[in-house]
C-alpha cells in the first residue's frame, strides 16, 4: 500500500462525508449528520496513515511542496472541524467545510501539483519545519471553520441560529489566533533567525502573515472593546481568512521572495 492509495482513500471518504452532510442540510435527519461525522473521522484516520507513510518514505516532514502542504491543509481543516463539531455541535458547518476540503484535495491531486518527494534544500532541514508549518496550518484551519460559520451567519435568518454562528466564529478565532501567532509568527521568527540570520526580513510571506494577524487583531478589538458583533464581525473574519488564504497560495504564485519552497 502506497501513500497515494491512502490519500485517494481519504479523498473518497471525505467525499462520502460531504455527501452525507449535504443530505443532512436538505433533509435535517440527525442520522445523516452522525454518519457524516463518523466518515470525517474515518477519513482523518486514513489521511493520518497517508501522511505518516509520506514522512517515512521521503524522510522529512510532509509539507515541503504544494501537494504536501495542501494535503496537510485539508487534513488540518478536517481536524479543526471535528474538534469544533465535537465541542459545539454545528453539523451544518460540516457540509460546507467538507466541500472546501474536497476542493483542496482535488487541487492537491491535480496534475498541476508535482507529487514527487524531492530532497530537502538545506534551509528546510530543521525540526522547525515541523513546528512552523503544522501549527500555522492548524491555526489557518480554525480560521477556515470561522470563515464558514461567518458566511452561515450572513445568510441565516433565524436570530437564535445567527447568535450561535457568531459565537462559534469567535470560538474558532480564539483557538486559531493563538495557534497562528505561535506557529506563523513566533516559530517563523525563531526559524528565520536560525536559518537566515535575521528574525524578520519583510519577505512578502512574512508581511502577509502580519496583515492576516492585523485583520484578526481588528476583529478582536472591535468585538471585545467596541462591542461589534454579528454582521460586521462576520465580514472581518471573512477578510481575515481571505488574507490567510492569500498568505498560503497567493504569495507563492503571485509574489516572489524568500519563502519560495512550496
Amino acid at each position: 500500500m502506497t501513500e497515494s492509495t491512502f490519500f485517494t482513500a481519504a479523498f473518497a471518504i471525505y467525499f462520502a462525508a460531504a455527501l452525507f452532510y449535504l443530505a443532512f442540510l436538505f433533509g435535517k435527519k440527525p442520522a445523516r449528520a452522525k454518519a457524516g461525522f463518523a466518515l470525517a473521522i474515518a477519513g482523518l484516520v486514513i489521511h493520518t496513515a497517508a501522511l505518516l507513510l509520506r514522512t517515512f518514505q521521503s524522510g522529512h516532514a510532509p509539507f515541503t511542496n504544494m501537494y504536501e502542504s495542501m494535503s496537510f491543509l485539508a487534513y488540518a481543516s478536517v481536524l479543526a472541524f471535528v474538534i469544533i463539531e465535537a465541542k459545539f455541535k454545528v453539523p451544518k458547518v460540516g457540509a460546507f467545510l467538507m466541500l472546501i476540503v474536497i476542493g483542496i484535495m482535488a487541487l492537491a491531486s491535480s496534475p498541476l501539483m508535482p507529487k514527487e518527494a524531492t530532497p530537502l534544500v538545506p534551509a528546510l532541514q530543521s525540526y522547525w519545519l515541523w513546528l512552523h508549518v503544522s501549527v500555522t496550518l492548524l491555526g489557518e484551519a480554525f480560521f477556515a471553520v470561522a470563515f464558514i460559520t461567518s458566511l452561515m451567519y450572513l445568510q441565516a435568518k433565524d436570530p437564535e441560529k445567527r447568535d450561535r454562528m457568531d459565537s462559534v466564529s469567535y470560538r474558532c478565532v480564539s483557538i486559531g489566533f493563538p495557534l497562528f501567532t505561535l506557529g506563523g509568527l513566533v516559530f517563523g521568527m525563531v526559524w528565520a533567525e536560525k536559518a537566515w540570520g535575521t528574525y524578520w526580513s519583510w519577505d512578502p510571506k512574512e508581511v502577509w502573515s502580519l496583515i492576516t494577524w492585523f485583520v484578526f487583531a481588528l476583529y478582536l478589538h472591535t468585538r471585545i472593546v467596541m462591542g461589534w458583533k454579528g454582521k460586521r464581525s462576520a465580514i472581518i473574519v471573512i477578510l481575515g481568512f481571505l488574507a490567510a488564504l492569500f498568505t498560503f497560495f497567493g504569495v507563492n504564485y503571485l509574489l516572489s521572495g524568500l519563502h519560495s519552497y512550496a
Partner: protein, 452 residues
C-alpha cells in the same frame, strides 16, 4: 500634550491605525522592494520617480511607515496604561459593597428568598462559591446587609495588557536591532584567518564541503570554523544552514558559497593545424608560462579567466555572474620575451576563438576544463535586539493564553433581612465565555435555593 494623549487612548484610533498599517503593508508586497531605478522605470515608467520619492520602493524602512509604527506603539502604550489603573484597582482594591440598583441591572442575576438567618446563608453561600473555586471577599454595611464578592481567574483580566507589553517589547527589539545591530559577510577560502569586525576575535575556515544528493542538488554546505582568541584556537564547530555558530554574542551563518575564479585551475589543449600529430595539454594556473615544445619555442600563458563572459558597456569583457555559464580564458603567446599573439578562448565555443597576431595562425587553442577552489560565505551578525524579540514573543503567547483561556468571572451577592425572611440577590459578570458562566451561575443559584 494631555489632549494628544487622550486622543491616543481611543480604541478607534488603534483600529484606524491597524487598517492603515495593513493597507500600507499590502502596498509594499505589490511593489517589489529594493530594486534598481532601471527596473522600476521598466515596470512603472514615469511613475517610478514618484514611487521612489514617496519611499514606496523601500516602504518598510520609509520614514512614514516607521512613523505609523511609532504612532501604533504610542497608541498601544497609552491605551494599555489608561486601562491598567482601573483593572489593578478592580483586582486589588475592589468595591465589595453592592449597590442594589447596579446588582439589579446586571445581565446575569437572580433573587432568592430563604428561611435561614442571614449569617447562615452567608456561610453556605461562601461554601458554594468556594467549592466552585471563587475567591471571596465580604463586608457588612451600616444597615446590616452582608455583601459578598466572589471572583475567579483574575489573571485573565491582564492577558491583553501582557500581549500589548509583548508587542512594545518586540518593537523595542526592532529598534535595538536597527541601531545596535551589526552584520557583514565574510568570504573565506579554506585556511583563511579573518578578524571578525568589532568582535575582538578571529575565525579560521578549516574546511568547506558541499554535500550533494544523488540527483546533483545541494544537500548541505558545511564550513568547519575555528574561533581564535588572541590567536589561540578556542572552539571548532561545523556551521551549516540552520546550525549557526554563536560566540560571544556574534552569530555565524552559512549563507552562500562561491568559486574563487581569481585563482582558477585550467586545462588548455593546443593543436597544430599543419601537424595533426601535435597535441599539447597542460594544467595551469594564471600567469604561468608553459613551453609549447614547438620549433619556434612558443610559450603560452593565461592572464585572465572569466566564468560568465559577456561584453560590457565599453565593449570590455566582464563577467555576468559568478556561475561558470560561459567560461573564457585570455591566452597569450610569447616568443623570445615578446608577446606575439593573444585572444579569448571559450570553453563552450571552441571554434569561436580568434587570436590576434599572425604567429598563432597555425595553432588551435582550446579551454578544455576549468576549476577553482570554493569559498564559503558566512554572515556574521551581532544583534542585541534578538533577546528582546524572544521576550516579546513569550509575553504575547502568555498574554494570549490568559486572554482567551482564563476568562475572569465575578459574582456579587447581597444578603439582607427583609420582613423576617432572608433575601439573597446575586449578579454575575464574565469578561469572556458568557455561556459557560451563565451555566455555572445557574448551577450555583440552584444550589443556594436548596438552603432551607
Amino acid at each position: 500634550m494631555k489632549a494628544i494623549l487622550r486622543f491616543f487612548t481611543s480604541v478607534r484610533v488603534a483600529i484606524i491605525l491597524l487598517i492603515i498599517l495593513a493597507l500600507a503593508s499590502i502596498l509594499g508586497t505589490l511593489i517589489p522592494q529594493g530594486r534598481t531605478l532601471e527596473e522600476y522605470t521598466a515596470r512603472y515608467g514615469g511613475l517610478s520617480t514618484l514611487f521612489i520619492r514617496l519611499q514606496l520602493t523601500e516602504l518598510y524602512h520609509s520614514v512614514w511607515y516607521l512613523g505609523l509604527l511609532g504612532l501604533f506603539a504610542l497608541n498601544i502604550a497609552v491605551c494599555t496604561l489608561d486601562r491598567l489603573g482601573p483593572k489593578l484597582r478592580r483586582t486589588f482594591h475592589p468595591k465589595i459593597e453592592n449597590d442594589p440598583k447596579a446588582l439589579a441591572g446586571m445581565k446575569i442575576k437572580d433573587k432568592i428568598r430563604l428561611n435561614d438567618r442571614p449569617e447562615v446563608v452567608k456561610t453556605k453561600t461562601e461554601a458554594a462559591l468556594r467549592s466552585a473555586r471563587y475567591r471571596i471577599r465580604s463586608t457588612a454595611d451600616s444597615e446590616g446587609r452582608i455583601h459578598l464578592l466572589g471572583r475567579r481567574r483574575m489573571d485573565g483580566l491582564f492577558g491583553s495588557d501582557i500581549v500589548h507589553l509583548g508587542l512594545l517589547v518586540i518593537i523595542a527589539g526592532g529598534i535595538v536591532t536597527a541601531f545596535g545591530g551589526f552584520r557583514t559577510n565574510l568570504n573565506l577560502n579554506p585556511g583563511d584567518v579573518r578578524d571578525v569586525p568589532k568582535a575582538g576575535f578571529a575565525v579560521r575556515l578549516d574546511k568547506f564541503e558541499i554535500e550533494k544528493y544523488p540527483d546533483g542538488s545541494v544537500k548541505d554546505w558545511k564550513s568547519t570554523l575555528t574561533v581564535l582568541e588572541n590567536g589561540v584556537p578556542t572552539r571548532t564547530q561545523i556551521v551549516e544552514v540552520n546550525h549557526p555558530l554563536v560566540h560571544r554574542g556574534f552569530s555565524f551563518y552559512q549563507t552562500a558559497y562561491g568559486f574563487n575564479w581569481d585563482a582558477p585551475s585550467l586545462e588548455i589543449r593546443v593543436l597544430m593545424k599543419s601537424d595533426p600529430a601535435f597535441v599539447k595539454i597542460f594544467q595551469t594556473p594564471l600567469n604561468r608560462k608553459e613551453a609549447l615544445g614547438d620549433k619556434e619555442k612558443t610559450e603560452i600563458l593565461v592572464t585572465r579567466f572569466i566564468p560568465d563572459f559577456v561584453l560590457g558597456d565599453n565593449n570590455q569583457p566582464e563577467t555576468r555572474s559568478l556561475e561558470p555559464n560561459n567560461p573564457a580564458a585570455l591566452v597569450e603567446g610569447w616568443r623570445g620575451g615578446e608577446k606575439v599573439f593573444d585572444g579569448w578562448v571559450f570553453a563552450a565555443y571552441p571554434d569561436f576563438t580568434q587570436m590576434h597576431g599572425g604567429a598563432a595562425s597555425d595553432l588551435k587553442i582550446e579551454l578544455r576544463n576549468f576549476d577553482a577552489a570554493q569559498y564559503s560565505v558566512l554572515e556574521t551578525a551581532k544583534d542585541p535586539g534578538v533577546s528582546l524579540i524572544w521576550l516579546g514573543c513569550l509575553l504575547i503567547m502568555a498574554g494570549l493564553f490568559l486572554a482567551f483561556y482564563r476568562p475572569t468571572w465575578e459574582i456579587r451577592v447581597t444578603i439582607e433581612n427583609v420582613s423576617g425572611k432572608t433575601e439573597l440577590a446575586a449578579g454575575g459578570l464574565a469578561t469572556k465565555s458568557r455561556d459557560l458562566f451563565e451555566a455555572e451561575f445557574a448551577g450555583l443559584t440552584a444550589r443556594l435555593r436548596r438552603i432551607p
